[in-house]
């Protein structure tokens, strides 16, 4: 029991720290494409500390406070189900659909909070977020189906294990198609252009986040960091082979090695998203919905069909 708790704590701390580093990496890489220096990598941590140390706080009632915590809680729960190399608390129960679901519900929590704030921009942002969520369901579903059909299981851990034998998922054509579709979906989950429609700073002033300030925003920053970690981790697990290292004698070394391999894969996923975000404008919400229901859906469906053949 103690061991499990320690493991959970380790995963949580590691995910938070690496998540913040990821946020820093996104900012630095974007800055470099912009031909500027950019902030130091630990900047998001400073931002969060500053937000948490704000002296006044505005709340709009219980749902407003609860929504933020709900989002954070769901993300933490999600991270527990995803296999992190050799470590895992609930990885045995890590069902594909469950994890996908858990990665999406933080948005619901933020939407609760945003809606209860009564700001019209937050309302519009919440609408947009909902529609984006609806739009990504279809390609996401097909991608998951493709995976499940290919490996014959819904368990993430088993998929990771299967990949150690048969090579990375993206080496197989059906799953490559699914991975492309999933990567486009990830763009929306990260909130990067061209699908950052729900926050759209130039249009609706950060949308759902417009009313959050101080501690609420600080918690959301932490949630965002963990979510970044969880989403990239999930992707590298199911498509990029995950990491199961057994070469070393010591389990600690094995763990560190697998974490390092995962980190490299996660950063690769992150960089693709950052590049795409830096060079494309954002869609409008109807264009995004149409886009998701067209290309990624077709690709993912093709993958699913090929996988089931």
């Amino acid at each position: 029991m103690m061991e499990t708790a320690l493991k959970a704590l380790f995963i949580l701390l590691y995910a938070t720290f690496v998540g913040f580093m990821f946020m820093g990496i996104i900012r630095i890489v974007t800055a470099r494409i912009h031909r500027r220096v950019g902030p130091p990598i630990y900047q998001p941590i400073l931002d969060t500390i500053k937000l948490l140390s704000k002296k006044s706080n505005i709340t709009h009632g219980v749902i407003y406070d609860f929504g933020v915590l709900y989002a954070l809680g769901a993300t933490i729960l999600a991270i527990m189900f995803i296999p992190l190399g050799n470590i895992g608390v609930l990885r045995a129960y890590g069902d594909l659909i469950l994890i996908t679901f858990l990665l999406e519900i933080p948005m619901l929590g933020i939407m609760f909070a945003a809606m209860s704030s009564g700001n019209p921009y937050a309302g519009i942002g919440a609408q947009r977020a909902l529609l984006t969520m609806l739009a990504i369901q279809v390609p996401l579903g097909f991608a998951i189906v493709a995976l499940a059909e290919f490996y014959g299981t819904f368990s993430t851990y088993e998929i990771v294990m299967a990949q150690q034998v048969s090579g990375w998922s993206i080496a197989h054509l059906p799953l490559l198609l699914a991975a492309i579709a999933y990567d486009l979906v990830l763009q929306a989950m990260f909130g990067k252009e061209p699908f950052d429609i729900m926050i759209a700073p130039g249009e609706i002033s950060l949308g759902p986040m417009v009313e959050f300030g101080g501690k609420h925003m600080g918690i959301l920053q932490i949630q965002h960091a963990i979510a970044l970690f969880a989403e990239t981790l999930f992707f590298s697990n199911i498509f990029l082979g995950g990491a199961v290292v057994t070469t070393f004698a010591s389990p600690v070394l094995n763990t560190i090695a697998s974490l390092a391999i995962l980190l490299v894969k996660q950063i690769a996923v992150l960089l693709v998203a950052t590049f795409m975000g830096a060079i494309f404008p954002r869609f409008t919400i109807d264009q995004a919905a149409k886009f998701y229901w067209k290309w990624p859906t077709i690709i993912a469906a093709l993958g699913a069909i090929l996988a089931s053949l």
Binding site: H34, R36, V37, G38, L46, K50, G202, M209, F212, G213
Partner: protein, 193 residues
């Protein structure tokens, strides 16, 4: 419970290195904000970045002259910001009226209406001068001298009195209601007939 004062140096450091700006360019100095925020001067190196929502912002840049109509929005936006918050005034105009010293529609002394922490000379200040102002603001935050928000709380009556003198009593409600009759299509009906 934990004594949070222990962490104050950390908090002050974080506040200093992560100032988010309200994206509200109030005057002509707004033209120097893009160079500052973009590649050439890039104040994101110090964690300064524009933020669309006043609820998250710490730093308010008064970029140049302020008209009463804008000042109303500035006051409302300023009050929306969570404490601690800082104000940096650019150029001559907020200080002593600038070139609009005899103009009927420009505020002469900004500090009568909201507290200001740092002043920069210039019309308009070069980006380097604004960077210098931001550095100065960082120093003041670290030493705890940037206490405009405390002054605003303590002397709220005085600031409120000045604001009311300038805009008339009940200006907040009036400003909010000003456009409603025009949105309600009352005039349109007349036109249709």
């Amino acid at each position: 419970m934990v004594d949070w004062r222990l962490f104050d140096p950390l908090f002050e450091y974080a506040r200093k290195r992560s100032m988010w700006i309200v994206s509200f360019c109030t005057g002509c100095g707004g033209i120097e904000m893009p160079p500052l925020a973009t590649s050439r001067y890039d104040f994101e190196r110090f964690g300064v970045m524009p933020n669309p929502s006043p609820r998250m912002a710490d730093l308010f840049l008064i970029t140049g002259y302020v008209t009463p109509k804008t000042l109303k929005r500035i006051i409302i936006t300023y009050e929306m910001q969570p404490d601690p918050k800082y104000v940096l005034a650019h150029g001559s105009c907020p200080l002593n009226g600038g070139i609009y010293w005899d103009g009927y529609n420009a505020i002469k002394h900004l500090d009568k209406y909201i507290p200001v922490d740092v002043a920069i000379a210039g019309c308009m200040p070069r980006p380097e001068a604004v960077m210098d102002g931001i550095q100065k603001m960082m120093e003041l935050i670290e030493t705890g001298e940037a206490d405009g928000w405390k002054r605003y709380k303590e002397n709220y009556e005085w600031y409120r009195k000045n604001q009311d003198e300038l805009f008339g009593e009940g200006w907040r409600e009036k400003t909010a209601r000003r456009w409603i009759p025009w949105l309600m299509d009352k005039k349109k009906e007349v036109k249709e007939e």
